[in-house]
């Protein structure tokens, strides 16, 4: 046999990792497939609206738009604007409620 035929096997992506898909991936898939992710999103959205968080974020956006002029604003701008403030201003009760739900799901997912 020619040497050229005996080339090393094509590196396999999975083999490179040396492990199965990360835990996170599995969980994410389970979340989505069971519909729980959707439910959690809706719950979080509702809570954030109730506590006025969404209105705060919208006010921030509006102020930014006014400053920059409405034709000069991109979605990216707004995302970067809101993300730090948004993450920091979620009420503790809301966060706790969601974390609890997620933990429950993780346990019941029987990993």
């Amino acid at each position: 046999m020619k040497h050229s035929v005996n080339r090393p096997p094509t590196p396999d992506a999975a083999e490179d990792q040396g492990k199965e898909p990360p835990l996170q991936e599995i969980i994410n898939v389970k979340l989505i497939e069971s519909g729980e992710k959707e439910r959690l999103m809706e719950l979080l959205r509702e809570r954030l609206i109730d506590c006025g968080w969404k209105d705060e974020m919208k006010a921030l956006c509006r102020a930014h738009v006014k400053k920059k002029g409405r034709n000069n604003v991109t979605v990216d701008d707004l995302v970067h604007l809101i993300t730090p403030k948004g993450r920091a201003s979620v009420p503790d009760s809301v966060k706790a409620e969601l974390l609890q739900r997620i933990r429950t799901f993780l346990m019941s997912a029987a990993l």
């Binding site: 959690l40 974020m57 956006c61 509006r62 604003v73 974390l99 933990r103």
Partner: protein
Amino acid sequence: MSGPNEDNNTQLSSHIFGDLLDSIIVDVASECHRIAKLGLDRNLEEEEEEMRLSAQARARVADPSNSSETNTKYVVDIFGQTHPSVATEIFECMNCGRSIAAGRFAPHLEKCMGKGRKARLKVTRSSTAAQNRYSRGSPVSTYSPYSNSTSTNRLSNGTPSVAGEEYSNGTYEEPWNKT
């Protein structure tokens, strides 16, 4: 002492929560962006402009040189025209044929066409024609408003004889003519 599993769980939960929150943040940003681009939200610049205009208008109203005009019967509209409070054009009523001022047309039609008590009863006149004939001149009878010359005729034109003509112009089948 909770095992490593617990910590994992907590870490994982936080991570998942962060994911959810990021998605929602992107949604909110996208929504605000859309509103801004479509001009759906009253932009603060426009609001300032409108506030300025409304302040101007308010000043104009408060201006003493204007109040003399508004105190009179005639109010000046934005084109500088004045209108009498009752419209004065004359029309012919399609029901009774009388000449009516435009500003009095609606009340006239009410009575003429049937909202009023007396007008409605006119429609049933043919069925009560016999009664009318015998109750002519009786002030008490409510079914012959125009047979009684002294009755309180609610038509805008207070002449009973004219009122009588309304319904003997051939549109109703009357066995007798009223004078």
